[in-house]
């Protein structure tokens, strides 16, 4: 039952082959027996889940249920869930029971999903290995001595380990695509503004974007359909019409123009990963696509630019955590300044502190022009690279990450090495473009992700391109042993 996709389970539910309560119990039992070795969930919510499952069963038997009704999923712990702890992977919010639902949560609940629990993540989504979580690292189900990637590491690992059918994630610099690649699942970061940020705890507001993490492109289309759309509660929500993301999944790729940025295939790319990506490109040729080399000349500036923009916005966003109205407060503060300083010092972990300090420095008097303004200008250059590329091609294709999953602890002490892991994913966030990671042939038993980048609001095209590959190959169906 746990190997089935959303589409297959939905058909089974509507045909009365099994109920959502049975399906939910099955997944709760799997979490009970298997999650201890992985640490994917921060909070498991059996009561909430079974209540939602019962409600879904009623809707299904009454005959007015959509494709997600009764489907068990996990919510990344960055999304506020009313009445349920929402920690964002931080000690700062360890005691935070959200008084409201994020728009994404509200919409998925309205579609009838069953929330099994809240997924582990890097603290405040700052990390590429899920090792910065206050609740301990998540382990990769393909090899438990390796990281699952981050920051949506819990979401990726639990989808790969079949501890939920799908999950939500968020992506500020690769946090959906990188863990999806390292865990062998499908992850989609939509166009900036496509999915509401309301109730999604802010890290870098001009980059943050929520999206689905699933086992197939077909499932990602179903999830995105429920998650996306204009929301008046998000001031940067895009007022764009919402297409039917499933309608064009099977469209022919005959004549599709795929661009391969030469900068994504150069030095630093693991040879095994390159070979897997090549094999997928060959499949696309067989499907009738035209493959051409393109150039994104400012690629090497994406990581440096990101590490000004993201920390600057994070230092501003995280100033709200002051120990006064909610969240962690230190013991016996002497005065107000002591309350602020110690609550923040004790409530935040190392990586969050590093980024707050970088951002504070970059925004401090006298440095604004040299850092933030300079970064915003280079951001424009990076965005223009893509603009020029999309005049020649329909989609851009490359690796999602330079290598397969690295070992736990291997890069934890060196922030700069860790940051370079997001070298292929960050540019899409800076430009605001949609990006996707799709599993291709594993290397030495570890998953590899193929990245697809599309033009603004072209999620349906990305899903179509990913789905056709998944129809022609079985890479996305591989499961880690023991799960």
């Amino acid at each position: 039952m746990h190997n089935k996709t959303i589409a297959e389970l939905g058909a089974g539910l509507r045909a009365g082959e099994f109920s959502s309560v049975e399906l939910t119990r099955h997944f709760l039992e799997r979490i009970d027996s298997l999650d201890e070795g992985l640490n994917c969930y921060i909070t498991v919510t059996p009561d909430v889940a079974l209540q939602a499952a019962e409600a879904a069963d009623q809707r299904i038997s009454a005959g007015y249920a959509g494709p997600l009704a009764g489907i068990p999923i996990a919510q990344k712990d960055i999304f506020c869930t009313q009445g349920v702890k929402t920690s964002c992977g931080s000690r700062m919010l360890d005691s935070f029971i959200s008084p409201y639902d994020a728009t994404v949560v509200e919409r998925l609940n309205a579609a009838g999903v069953v929330m099994l629990g809240k997924a582990n993540m890097d603290e405040f989504a700052m990390g590429s290995s899920n090792e910065t979580s206050f609740y301990g690292p998540v382990r990769n189900p393909w090899d438990r001595e390796r990281v699952p990637g981050g920051s949506s590491g819990g979401s990726a690992a639990l989808v790969a380990a079949r501890l939920a059918v799908a999950a939500t994630g968020t992506d500020t610099g690769g946090s959906i695509r990188q863990p999806a690649a390292l865990c062998g699942i499908t992850g989609l970061k939509p166009t900036y503004g496509r999915v509401s940020r309301y109730g999604m705890i802010a890290f870098a507001s001009s980059l943050d974007q929520g999206g689905p993490m699933t086992r197939s492109a077909e499932d990602a289309a179903l999830m995105l359909q429920a998650m996306a759309g204009f929301d008046a509660k998000d001031s940067t929500s895009a007022e764009e019409p919402l297409p039917d993301f499933s309608a064009g999944l099977n469209d022919s790729l005959q004549g599709l123009k795929i661009g391969l940025p030469k900068e994504y295939f150069g030095e630093g790319l693991d040879a095994g990963v390159a070979a897997s990506v090549e094999a997928a490109i060959e499949e696309y040729r067989k499907l009738g696509a035209q493959v051409v080399e393109i150039s994104l000349p400012n690629t090497h500036l994406a990581v440096p630019t990101y590490y000004v923009v993201a920390p600057a916005e994070c230092s501003s966003n995280l100033s709200r955590f002051d120990g006064v109205r909610y969240g962690y407060r230190c013991e016996d503060p002497r005065d107000l300044e002591d309350l602020y300083k110690r609550s923040r010092g004790e409530g935040f972990g190392e990586e969050v502190k590093r980024r707050i300090m970088i951002g504070t420095y970059a925004l401090s008097a006298g440095y604004y022009d040299a850092y933030y303004l300079k970064a915003q200008k280079i951001r424009h250059l990076i965005s223009d690279d893509f603009k020029a590329a999309f005049e020649q091609v329909d989609v851009i294709l490359g690796p999602s990450t330079p290598s397969t999953a690295f070992g736990l602890g291997e890069k934890a002490d060196d922030p700069v090495t860790m940051y370079l892991n997001d070298i292929y994913t960050i540019a899409a966030n800076l430009a605001g473009l949609p990006g996707m990671s799709v599993p291709v042939a594993p290397v030495e038993g570890m998953p590899v992700g193929l990245q697809l980048i599309g033009n603004y609001f072209a999620e349906a095209k990305l899903l179509n391109v990913a789905h056709k590959l998944q129809q022609a190959t079985d890479w996305h169906k591989l499961a880690p042993e023991g799960y």
Partner: protein
Amino acid sequence: MSLDRSDIEKIAHLARMAVDEDRIEGYATDLSNILGLVAQMDDVETDDVTPMAHPLHMAQRLRVDEVTEVDRREAFQAIAPKVESDLYLVPKVIE
């Protein structure tokens, strides 16, 4: 750009964030390395480039000036660290 101990202390104060005494040297090294990475930006000529503040170059939306929120003080104060008589409590600010 290399940061030293006193820079870290100053930045931590600006961020109103306590840092452990024995971690200050470590932060100085880490932050200097990150700024070293960021310094690659300096090689690019950007005098004629306009800064990009928003990926979609969107204008800020306006809405009608009317009350849309309901009073949820009780729910919000239920999760506060310290509350008394409907007020959030902090240490005394004025002696």
